[in-house]
Symmetry: C2
Subunit: 191 residues, 2 copies
């Protein structure tokens, strides 16, 4: 998605040589017009997949998933990262490892909100080593629903998670794929 | 908002006699059509306030704020509940007390994303004792921006926070105001 790549180059920040930060338009301050363009593109890619539900993970996936869900006319379910007193009843759970924050996090989705008849699209903001996506895929598998694929805004290909998950036969569509971030220069994979 | 009240009665769950749960359409599984109706109503209420930015708090406020922001054509900034390694630079911070979870939580917004020229609308899913809303108001005050008011989906009036904040001269518009939840029966304030 050319306009997204241009936005990443214009407003993304590179820290410590290779960390790409997109706080200014995607992760903390959110450009809603950009999210509409992203949602439209996910719809173009997955409109023939019979999607019945979009799932994502709190917190930064939620806005992207909700805007995109309008085009599919389906509900969103977001995985929670803590099992608070509000989360009652039976849950699907998984454990994900964040290399960014160097810790394990448990994630939960209430069983009532996934069904064997669902055709699930996973949406998330980032895909790096694939920990979060793998955790969501395992929850979809546990539920017996059909996974149609994953829509990712920014994939950091040099961290390998996307290609490992694709090699398992799962459709992963990333709107911008960063091949490398070196000396402040971002190189995208041709798509 | 009559359709919201009807939805709360139809699909809300009452736990322990007085806890209202709306996980099935607002907080965990999200009905996007309902969020569009909510966003349209917030726009009707605040369209003449010159809103330049919507702020909310992770996680359950984000979807509501993003959908609503489309009608105002403004960006969203969400307060983060942890200061991870991703959150660099100077921040506005506040501390909120959650009576639901009986703990203090720090919240942060990067200073770059609020400006003295902003006219801020706060949007959140719930207003009970007002801890989260008060924390966001203090951050807006610290930034020097103008607060036009708060748009809340569900206010639990029997916990008092909304009326305390209104008594400070702040405009609080709640789309459904629950006066009481007793023996499984929800009573709304007439609006």
């Amino acid at each position: 998605m050319k306009s997204l790549e241009e936005r990443i180059i214009k407003d993304g920040e590179i820290k410590d040589g290779s960390v790409l930060k997109v706080d200014g338009f995607l992760n903390h301050r959110i450009d809603i017009g950009l999210l509409q363009d992203i949602g439209t593109e996910f719809y173009r890619l997955f409109k023939d997949s019979g999607v019945t539900k979009i799932i994502t993970i709190e917190a930064s996936g939620i806005g992207i998933a909700c805007i995109a869900a309008q085009y599919f006319n389906v509900p969103v379910v977001f995985a929670k990262k803590s099992r608070t007193s509000n989360l009652t009843g039976e849950v699907y759970s998984g454990q994900i490892y964040s290399f960014t924050h160097q810790c394990f996090t448990d994630i939960y989705i209430k069983k009532d909100y996934l069904s064997r008849d669902d055709r699930i699209l996973i949406i998330d903001d980032f895909l790096a080593r694939g920990g979060a996506l793998d955790g969501l895929i395992r929850i979809v598998d546990d539920s017996g629903a059909h996974l149609v694929g994953a829509g990712i805004v920014i994939e950091k290909a040099f961290q390998g998670g996307g290609d490992i998950i694709r090699s398992r036969g799962i459709r992963v569509e990333s709107l911008a794929i960063v091949e490398s971030v070196e000396n402040g220069r971002i190189v995208f994979r041709d798509q």
